[in-house]
């Protein structure tokens, strides 16, 4: 479980980094639509991390009872 979550963190992080530090000038191409993609992915990543943390906290509570 823990490993899977780590992989998930990593995956989202690399996606965001790739969106932010392009090799060419991808962020300025296509009418800067990639900026929107990066913003939306950041929000999605934030929401998902929140859910993952909530899930782990509840799992911990379930184990302690």
């Amino acid at each position: 479980m823990r490993r899977v979550i780590f992989i998930l963190y990593f995956l989202l992080f690399t996606l965001m980094v790739n969106a932010k530090e392009p090799t060419g000038n991808i962020m300025r191409d296509n009418g800067k639509i990639y900026v929107v993609v990066a913003v939306m992915l950041t929000i999605l990543a934030g929401l998902v991390l929140y859910l993952v943390r909530l899930d782990r906290k509840i799992s911990k509570l379930e184990k302690n009872k």
């Binding site: 979550i5 998930l8 998902v48 859910l51 509840i58």
Partner: protein, 238 residues
């Protein structure tokens, strides 16, 4: 029963949901979309706005199934699940409504007039009224539940009401809006998102994964709330 409890703790479907959403967000903005004079790039809202309604419908369906299971087995876990799925369904419905309001402001409203001046004509859209009725019927479900103190009575009455609310979805969002003229797609010709003539193959490649991704996230939130509620109930009964 143990099967659903087991399912709530698995992580593969949560990861699948997140990956589908990442795919939706990236591809949804980057794929080629058909050019439409009125919609232009806003056609991409199909992957977000429309998926909210699909997710809502699936969550309400799960909710009514759990309500029926509660009535047939009397297991309080089904009651908790039914309530939480309905709650997340309402959340999705409200998000669908809010995103629809934004979308319509830039596609249906007369561009030569301020948006609020078009409001009188937009507010009579049968699809909007129908969706508002459906959401209010479900809002009444929450009010009804909280107004009954006796636990068994609360669970039983709200399960029966849940079936009624689900039945009300059909006339209010599926039937009546299709009989009346509307600017909203999906009149007498059927659902435009599922109609093979209207959605391009390109868009369907993103649309179906998007529905699955959003629905899985909705189910994830609902299961978290169910687990929390079960813990809460166990604490109370100790």
């Amino acid at each position: 029963m143990t099967a659903t409890i087991f399912f709530m703790h698995r992580s593969w479907w949560k990861i699948l949901g997140v990956l589908l959403l990442v795919y939706t967000f990236v591809m949804g903005l980057l794929i080629e979309v058909p050019q439409n004079v009125q919609l232009e790039e806003t056609i991409r809202n199909l992957f977000f706005h429309v998926c909210m309604w699909f997710g809502m419908m699936i969550l309400f369906t799960v909710s009514v199934i759990r309500a029926i299971l509660y009535l047939s087995t009397g297991n309080p876990v089904h009651d908790i699940a039914s309530r939480q799925y309905a709650g997340v369904g309402i959340l999705f419905g409200l998000l669908g409504y809010a995103t629809g309001a934004i979308w319509m402001s830039y596609t249906w409203a007369d561009p030569n007039k301020p948006i609020y001046e078009s409001f009188a004509s937009l507010a009579r859209e049968p699809k909007l009224i129908g969706a508002a009725i459906a959401l209010l019927v479900y809002a009444a479900y929450l009010v009804l539940r909280d107004s009954i103190n006796d636990m068994d009575k609360k669970a039983r009455i709200s399960a029966v009401y849940n079936i009624f609310a689900f039945a009300m979805l059909f006339p209010s969002i599926w039937i009546i809006p299709r009989l009346l003229d509307s600017l909203h797609p999906g009149g007498s010709e059927g659902n435009p998102a599922l109609n093979f003539r209207d959605a391009s193959p390109n868009m369907r490649m993103v649309f179906y994964p998007a529905i699955a991704g959003w629905t899985l996230i909705g189910i994830w939130i609902a299961t978290l709330k169910i687990r929390l509620k079960i813990l809460h109930e166990q604490k109370l009964s100790q």
